[in-house]
């Protein structure tokens, strides 16, 4: 049973490599997208930290900015 699942009548190499390529492509795209997301979020947080209290209050008046700050590890 296990041998049949792995070898697949001689087609195993083709089948497994097609699935492996697909899953590796998915993993790569996920990691690249996540890295970009974390980088932009960290940039936002560090920029926000440099604002004086008046500008920080002005920025915080926008709901989207509050959301970004409150969802630090949302993914």
């Amino acid at each position: 049973m296990i041998n049949e699942t792995i070898l697949m009548n001689g087609y195993g190499l083709y089948v497994w490599s097609a699935f492996a390529f697909t899953l590796l492509s998915f993993a790569s795209l996920y990691l690249i997208t996540k890295t970009q997301y974390v980088r932009e979020k960290n940039k936002f947080i560090s920029k926000f930290g440099t604002l004086n209290s008046e500008r920080a209050a002005s920025a915080k008046s926008q709901s989207i900015n509050r959301e970004i700050l409150s969802n630090i590890s949302s993914i």
Partner: protein, 235 residues
């Protein structure tokens, strides 16, 4: 109606959704992989190589679906001046490109045991390769043009030109004598695929659709934060 699509209004949803979509994607993918690799039967003609269909076909369907969505969003966004539609299109494109590449590579792997060759300049395969070029042109346009109006105009033109290729991909197997087999699944008429193979195919399609949704949400959130970063610079 379009005011509901404003980034400020939907970010509270899009920022929380990825973790739930990721869990759902992993669950559906696990079921799909078990069905595709173990539980589904082998084909009487192609034997186990038919299992490649469970990644090849959903990837091709979704890459075509995403490109069609890019075109519709770009045209509507351009006509009604809705910038958010361009942001949605830009966020959808990377997963569309990856699905297109997956369809080509897995098709090539499937071609070797079935046709005896990795590649043929067949109408279906060549038109899918042309679609990859349109995806690349679309993404490169976003990278090289700074002026927003110019990039909106150029990406809309690219998607319209690329869209001409979509029906060619779909009907290439009917219009020309090709190595590629005709469609086994028809929405309007009876499909020639057996239910035992149709079920895993649909589960894998659902898993791939969830993956493209996940990448879209993450990419869209990244683009919104990028815009907000520029906003902080202006404060």
């Amino acid at each position: 109606m379009f005011k509901y699509f404003e980034p400020n209004k939907i970010f509270s949803v899009t920022s929380k959704a990825p973790k739930y979509v990721l869990v759902l994607f992993i669950t559906v993918l696990s079921i799909g992989l078990a069905e595709a690799l173990i539980l589904s039967p082998e084909d009487y003609k192609q034997s186990h190589s038919v299992r490649i269909m469970y990644v090849h076909v959903p990837a091709a369907w979704i890459s075509l679906g995403i490109f069609s969505s890019l075109t519709i969003l770009s045209i509507v966004g351009y006509i009604f001046k809705i910038r958010n539609f361009f942001l949605i299109s830009k966020s959808l494109a990377p997963s569309g490109l990856v699905f297109n590449i997956v369809a080509l590579v897995t098709g090539s792997i499937w071609g070797k045991p079935t046709w005896g060759t990795w590649w043929a300049w067949d109408a279906r395969i060549t038109s899918m390769l042309i679609l990859v070029l349109f995806y690349i042109m679309y993404l490169v346009a976003w990278r090289i043009y700074e002026n927003k109006d110019k990039v909106f105009r150029i990406t809309t033109v690219i998607t319209i030109l690329g869209m001409i290729n979509v029906p060619i991909i779909k009907y290439s197997v009917d219009w020309w004598n090709t190595l590629h087999q005709p469609a086994s699944i028809n929405i309007l008429s009876k499909s020639s695929i057996h239910i035992s193979m149709l079920v895993p195919l649909l589960i894998m399609t659902a898993a791939f659709a969830l993956f493209s949704l996940l990448i879209f949400l993450m990419k869209y959130n990244t683009e919104l934060i990028k815009i907000k970063n520029k906003g902080l610079d202006r404060l």
